[in-house]
Amino acid sequence: MSGLIAVLFLLVAATGTIVALSRVPRHQVIAMAANGLALSLLFMALQAPDVAFAELAAGTAAIPLLFLVVLASIRTDLITERVERPAPGETPPVQKP
């Protein structure tokens, strides 16, 4: 039993490291879902099935989906001009809609 828990701890650490090291947001979302799955397995092994259920449904399905939708709706094609940052003390130029 303790061997299983040790393996699951390593799995959580490994998937968590992948989340932190991912640079492409899409990949990071999938890595986060994998981390949620590893966490829910760990909760299951630690005899906390209630928490495992919640983690599995929220952390592995719902939250990654919401992130993916947000990524999908970011309109990268609309950024046409560089936004100039005003110098301190200077009033920012009024943007016309």
Binding site: A57, A58, L65, L66, S73
Partner: protein
Amino acid sequence: MSPRLRRAVFLLACVCLLPAFAHVASTMPAFGAHPLPYGDLINAVGVRERHVTNMVSAINFDYRGFDTLGEEFMMLCAVTGTTILLRGTRGETQDRPQRVPGREIRPRADATVLICRLLAGFTVLFGLYVLLHAMTTPGGGFQGGVIIASGLLLAFLGEGYRGWRHVAHSELFDAAEGGGAALYALCGFASMLMGLPFLQNMLPLGKSGDLFSGGLMLVENAGVGLAVAGGFGILLLEFLEETREPEPVQEDE
């Protein structure tokens, strides 16, 4: 701040915090030890006092039922806030996916459609099972509600946006979310009406191990299940609206 300086500050902070970390780590309770008496006490008296075998439900809906009421309304506020923020650009009637020029839209694979069709119903059924068995086995209103909502999500993955809109009606979700939260609060007022403290169990507790044991906890659990399934449904609906092209703005002036 240059990367080099930043790294130096980070290492300095590490060195400063290391003794404190070592002290805390060395005096922590051993892995698996639970020095607080609360859990043992609940396990010892819970079944006798509340006639339920899932102690997590007994704590959530009875011993600490008032806390759950607070969490219930926190969730209501969070869902309401998200809806208000996202409702600005709705594309409810638009069937065209919002897309970046040059990014291709691949059709769904047949296997995805098949798996989602098979699993969506079973997932919702499993959610109902988890919800109903709150008093006897692990799970409960929250877990069951979230599983039901993820079953709804499979409808989107398998059938696409149009199929999703066919089953997902915001009126239904709104009613479930608000009605569930209200049901929980009304349970408390029902106790007060009978001259008992807020949320005190006044229904017959039943036989422990039975599906319908727990008295008032059953009603509260149903309220939480409704509210969570509805709340997550609203969130999914509002977020999936964001994948549509917004409707053209009507200029009235």
